[in-house]
């Protein structure tokens, strides 16, 4: 029979071991520096070297700070940040997260508004109830329609379509020529949803910028006739055979390759695609906004940005200083512009100031950011007050995939309303 002291010793030892493993406190070190944890994510273009270099540059401008980099296991920073929060290891700084997911729990500290107003072209692009948790250093258009000029010419299309009717006409001409009109990386849910993001942003938000706020106030619904009519346009594209029949089996990465190698004529995608346009054939690609019935330009806009600060960071003032230094470093933005198609939003800077080499299609796409046009918060991508409630993106993606095979648009929209109801409870 086991003796009590022995058992107690085992338990105590195990607890001590567990405590030692889990100890993340103690922000300082022997040299008096404040150690801050910084959650980043790696992609082929934003690799380990990019993050290490950018951290070193910002640290040099923030004396007394030492950064401990945490790399998210996938590009889902929000999901990983939530797991870290669950285990009591919420990072001090978090790159490119969706603040609305975390602000409700009081986990984030807003940036100094004066600094934000002084440095960025659209200071409120990311604002949540008047506070800015991520400096709006760059922006994206989600989606734009990219097109292959040669395939358009082959099909006898002389200009990029502006109206929905012209768009359908272009699709019909391409299909008649045996060219797949629209590329869709439908195996990846976010990519599958691109046409739907374009349609709802253009047809619904373009006519009523407050639609998402009204949805939060329960004044409008996805199952309303105008939304169902708009989403039915997606079904028209599917049933007309304007997507590849097997598009739901095409991975996002493969969809880029298929489009850039001329397998399809058009590609609705976020402007980050601009980073994947092959340099040697870049002049063969153009872009246009998702077409509307009237031909009016609607730009589904997303304010991107750098890092959020944990409200419980070991030293929030130093964390903010680090965040500011990182955000204004043009070298960081250079990499984001060239490889991720990010549109820079720092005041008083032109593309030349970043020392970037960009394609003509990038310049043409970026022009929509500076123009005085109808910018709306791209549904499902906005990180400000128009962000969708947690979990609704998944439902939105699922609806986009379901509508590829199902005719019941109203039913799918009702499901979204049900998911919304659950999400905001």
């Amino acid at each position: 029979m086991i003796r009590k002291p022995l058992l107690a010793a085992c338990v105590a030892g195990l607890l001590a071991f567990t405590a030692a493993c889990g100890s993340g406190e103690g922000g300082g070190n022997e040299s008096g520096e404040t150690a801050l944890t910084y959650l980043v994510f790696e992609t082929p273009s934003l690799d380990a070297k990019f993050w290490d270099d950018s951290i070193a540059a910002a640290t040099a401008q923030t004396p007394g700070v030492k950064i401990n980099k945490i790399v998210a296991p996938s590009t889902d920073r929000d999901g990983y940040a939530k797991q870290l929060q669950q285990s009591g290891q919420f990072p001090d700084l978090l790159q490119s997260i969706t603040p609305s997911n975390f602000v409700g729990a009081g986990l984030l500290k807003p940036y100094d508004k004066t600094w934000i107003d002084a440095n960025f072209l659209l200071p409120s692009a990311n604002s949540l109830k008047g506070e800015v948790y991520i400096p709006p250093t760059n922006s994206q258009i989600v989606p734009q329609v990219y097109y292959n000029k040669k395939l358009f010419t082959d099909a006898g299309i002389s200009a990029a379509p502006k109206t929905w009717a012209e768009f359908l006409d272009a699709c019909a001409k391409l299909k008649a020529k045996g060219i797949n009109p629209i590329e869709l990386g439908g195996a990846d849910p976010f990519a599958a949803s691109m046409p739907l993001v374009g349609i709802i942003s253009a047809d619904i938000l373009g006519k009523n910028k407050n639609w998402l706020q009204n949805r939060y106030a329960d004044k409008v619904k996805f199952a309303d006739q105008d939304v169902v009519a708009a989403v039915s346009k997606y079904r028209t594209l599917v049933t007309s055979g304007y997507f590849d029949k097997g598009a739901l089996g095409v991975k996002y990465a493969d969809s880029i390759t298929r489009f850039t190698t001329g397998k399809s004529a058009m590609y609705p995608m976020g402007s980050w695609f601009l980073g994947s346009v092959p340099k040697d054939t870049a002049d063969n690609f153009g872009s246009f906004p998702w077409p509307t019935d009237s031909g009016d330009v609607v730009v589904p806009f997303v304010g991107g940005g750098s890092m959020a600060i944990s409200a419980k960071a070991k030293d929030t003032a130093k964390a903010e200083k680090f965040g500011q230094a990182w955000s204004l470093n043009t070298k960081n933005l250079k990499a984001l512009i060239e490889t991720d198609g990010a549109f820079p939003m720092i005041k008083g800077k032109t593309l030349e100031d970043y020392g970037v080499t960009v394609t003509q299609v990038f310049k043409d796409s970026y022009a929509y950011v500076g123009q005085d046009n109808n910018k709306v918060n791209a549904i499902g991508w906005a990180t400000n007050d128009d962000a969708l409630p947690p979990g609704l993106n998944d439902a939105f993606y699922a609806a986009a995939q379901a509508l590829f095979t199902k005719d019941d648009v109203a039913g799918e929209m009702r499901k979204l309303d049900d998911a919304w109801k659950t999400a905001v409870q």
Binding site: T18, K82, G246, L248, V250, P390, Q401, A402, T422
Partner: protein, 293 residues
């Protein structure tokens, strides 16, 4: 005498350590999850309240849950049947002692050794739209255009079934091989003398004596597939349109995408109960079969 005492103490220490680990890493999380299932716990909200059985009653009207359970059960039973039939067949084929057969046994078990994530990535390159399978089938003229093996609900269910069966067959083969090798050779010799051969010998001698192996193999196959997460996550992510969303994947999405930890815990309890009921029912039925044989 002293040696005996110290030996017992060492064993007791090991047993205590195992018990503590079991309590801390299995029983305690289970109890915490059970408690959480009666709350509206959300890691990103300041307050989490006790809400009684609300999560459990919500499950009755949850279409996504129903769809995920249906998918999980179809996959579990389909894979269990296929993997066990194939396992018996491979075990009989590989029940030889020569070196080449021993090598083939190792190869057969390989899928079971590989990480589910690696298996799924390998199969993804085979099954994706422009993957190896479509390329091969189009080259030899069977297909005119790529078939969406992962891009339509039914094809994706079938494809996942094939991949999981491939993985599980390695395990079932080894179990049935062990069971085959425990059958006394004398029985086969006596059967031969009595003129019992081929399928009759399999039906009368081999199959009944494989019963203990069948119990283990079927039960473990079922439980493994009921809680399947990794392969599905990599292969389809639960898509298209959630049609291949296993219950385990749904639980993770509820907890870490929708932030509904309380509800996710309730669904986890349901999956636990379901797995227990299915496993106990199947095990007791197979055990009864063992005794009757």
């Amino acid at each position: 005498m002293r040696k005996k005492h110290s030996g017992e103490r060492g064993l007791a220490l090991l047993a205590a350590l195992a018990l503590v680990l079991y309590l801390v890493f299995l029983v305690l999380p289970l109890l915490l999850s059970l408690r959480s299932s009666f709350t509206n716990e959300n890691p990103l909200k300041a307050t989490n309240e006790y809400i009684g059985f609300a999560n459990y009653t919500e499950m009755a009207g949850d279409d996504q849950l129903r769809a995920s359970l249906t998918f999980t059960l179809i996959l579990a039973f389909g894979v269990t049947v296929a993997a066990n039939v194939l396992g018996v067949a491979f075990a009989i084929l590989l029940n030889r002692t020569s070196l080449s057969y021993r090598v083939m046994r190792t190869v057969a078990f390989l899928p079971q050794v590989l990480s589910g994530v690696i298996v799924a990535f390998v199969w993804q390159t085979i099954l994706t739209q422009n993957g190896l399978l479509n390329t091969a089938l189009m080259k030899i003229g069977i297909l005119d255009e790529p078939y969406p093996w992962l891009g339509s609900p039914n094809a994706a269910l079938f494809s996942i079934g094939v991949v999981v069966t491939w993985v599980m067959t390695g395990f079932t083969t080894v179990v049935y091989l062990a069971a085959l090798q425990s059958i006394p050779l004398e029985l086969h010799d006596m059967a031969s003398l009595d003129g019992v051969r081929g399928t009759q010998r399999f039906r009368k001698i081999t199959w009944p004596l494989l019963a203990p192996g069948t119990t283990i193999s079927v039960t473990i196959s079922l439980i493994t597939v009921l809680k399947l997460y990794d392969i599905i996550t990599v292969l389809t992510g639960g898509g298209p349109a959630n049609s291949t969303q296993s219950t385990a994947l749904y639980i993770v999405k509820l907890a870490f995408t929708s932030d509904r930890v309380g509800y996710a815990s309730a669904v986890a309890m349901l999956l636990l109960a379901l797995s227990a009921v299915v496993a106990l029912t199947i095990t007791s039925a197979l055990r009864r079969r063992e005794i009757s044989l």
